[in-house]
Symmetry: C2
Subunit: 360 residues, 2 copies
């Protein structure tokens, strides 16, 4: 067996030790005689897995007691509807559009009320984060929505927008658990787990309790009502139980690594290796305004589409996988999530240097 360095934007690399444990436990979880996949979600054994996962996540993010943690299905795309259906009490919300996912969220919200685009970076292919220190926040807005790290474009809000007292809702899919955050600044902090946490098929939503009400939009499905899941402790119906188990293992791995402050240092170190090289390279260049660069997703180009394709092909042959940029922007992108070891980034930079020598 030989593992590659996998720079996929999601589903993405997972810690090898987590995968090893999962393989070892596949037929018999800790002597119980069955796989976690075969376990009733109402069993004591599974409830322990679920409760430990939640407790470890609360510990990692220091989630205040007045926030619920929900394990939901349907991906961020389903949250794009669920959020306005549950939160648009006055039929209005403000959206900051910094990429394709924020744009989709904004478009979906228009089905449910007045969704105002109060800022955007689409004019420069989403290569920066707009100044959000003094935006024209709508007086009736029920919330202000952002996508905090933009997977496709490689930008990140380094400072949260000034919402002027309005509830902040943030999609953190691609920066989830990459560094400590102050949860109390958010109304909802949510993300698909398939980038930085676990296998695909689950969203974790961390919601301030006062936002969880029965007073939702008429016609909101029971399954798209936050209260349904909050009241049932994420067990209203059968959850993606194996995904909860895998995420729980990653939470324990993160705690063993030293927690989110240590992960932040590690992620900064990895990203710096790559950005420093991009800034000095004569062939490759980063596509994002330096101050807004993501620690997780690093897009870059040579400026020559043929050369980009050659790079991706040769990198793959060298065991550096999934470096092709998103189909909507082209070029290259290295996603260097928590589980990407520093050796992976070093190997990538070495390979880029070699490629540059051979191709300039």
């Amino acid at each position: 067996m030989s593992r590659v360095y996998n720079f996929s934007a999601g589903p993405a690399v997972l810690p090898e030790e987590v995968l090893r444990e999962a393989a070892d436990e596949m037929l018999d979880y800790r002597g119980c005689g069955m796989s976690v996949m075969e376990m009733s979600h109402r069993s004591g054994m599974f409830e322990t897995i679920l409760n430990e996962a939640e407790a470890d996540l609360r510990d990692l993010l220091q989630i205040p007691d007045n926030y619920k943690v929900l394990f939901l299905q349907g991906g961020a795309s389903q949250q794009f509807a669920m959020i306005p259906m549950n939160l648009m009490k006055h039929g209005e919300a403000d959206y900051i559009v910094t990429g394709q996912w924020a744009k989709k969220a904004w478009q979906e919200a228009q089905k449910y009320g007045k969704a105002n685009k109060i800022a955007s970076s689409e004019d420069k292919t989403f290569s920066y984060i707009p100044d959000c220190s003094d935006l024209d926040i709508s007086p009736n807005a029920d919330y202000v929505y952002i996508c905090e790290n933009n997977t496709i474009y490689g930008t990140k809000f380094k400072k949260l927008p000034n919402t002027k007292g309005k509830t902040l809702v943030s999609d953190v899919s691609s920066c989830f658990l990459s560094e400590p955050v102050d949860v109390s600044k958010y109304g909802i902090l949510y993300g698909g787990v398939q980038k930085n946490i676990g296998p695909a098929g689950m969203v974790i939503s961390i919601i301030r309790e006062d936002l969880i009400t029965e007073d939702v939009m008429k016609g909101t499905p029971t399954m798209l009502t936050f209260k349904t899941h909050a009241d049932a402790g994420s067990l209203y119906n059968t959850p993606n139980s194996y995904c909860i188990y895998m995420c729980g293992k990653v939470f324990k791995w993160l705690k063993n690594m030293g927690g989110l402050a240590v992960m932040k240092e590690r992620n900064e170190k990895k990203a710096k290796l790559l950005y420093d090289f991009l800034d000095e390279s004569h062939l490759f260049k980063g596509t994002v305004v330096p101050k807004d660069r993501s620690l997780m997703n690093v897009p870059f180009v040579t400026g020559n589409a043929q050369l980009d394709a050659k790079f991706v092909k040769e990198a793959k042959e060298a065991g550096l996988e999934n470096l092709k940029g998103h189909r909507s922007v082209g070029g290259m992108r290295a996603s260097i999530y928590n589980a990407m070891p520093i050796e992976g980034v070093e190997t990538l930079v070495d390979f880029m240097k070699k490629f540059e020598k051979e191709n300039v």
Copy 2:
């Protein structure tokens, strides 16, 4: 490692060889250097997994070409809303209520239009299937809805209702792939996979193409529109990719076993062992009218709650797990899905005989 016989109603027992393969491939899927959990859902490798899963399922069920196969999230509970939102063009549908899940589907549909309960077996704790040969089908009904196998109560429609030309929508979660079916009799045939197919976190919906339209109810989320997923081949957003992979393995296992006709024989043989014993026992008795008995879920009681509890406890000690009945009905229930070997049922019957001798 010692595996138990797991009679859980879902998530439930999976074929041991499937779990073994999954464990072996966990860190390195067929030499690609990564786990299926780490694979981009847009990669060629994953597309092959997805396409093979669909092709094998089409083969097993002989699905006609004018039906789409969708891999969706949110469980049957989400379909309870998705179906009326997409299908209630005239704002009306007929529901046959044969258990808790059919009842929940009927209640959810009332959010979206006139949902008529045209038959029910609630008068006798859902212990039978009502005569559906000449029901009062509503002239304006867009569809007639059933839950074909009732997991909690252990009943099964042995004959589909006469819908008098109306579209039939059926939840087959707990009898999915347990025997051959004529897909062309259904408008929608759908089920959660966590009972008879794979790990939790996915629903497979098999839909006749003419029912997939843009003309859905106002306010239907993009993610709850069948057309969204049909147009994108279940890749509109990141699917539960690991679950698709596991279900694909189970489809191959079923084909290797000889297909659904062979599974039906095998399932009938297993169920007969248990029902024959229940019919002759002086202690245990089945709770379902014989003609409506499910091949998959077999509820039974001693008539004495204390003795029931003793049985469940001692059975567990003997390696026969999850025999407790659903919390809403009590007693016992043995779920004997495709992956339960005949030895499991034989062991259970032997244990019941021994328990009867000791306790009568």
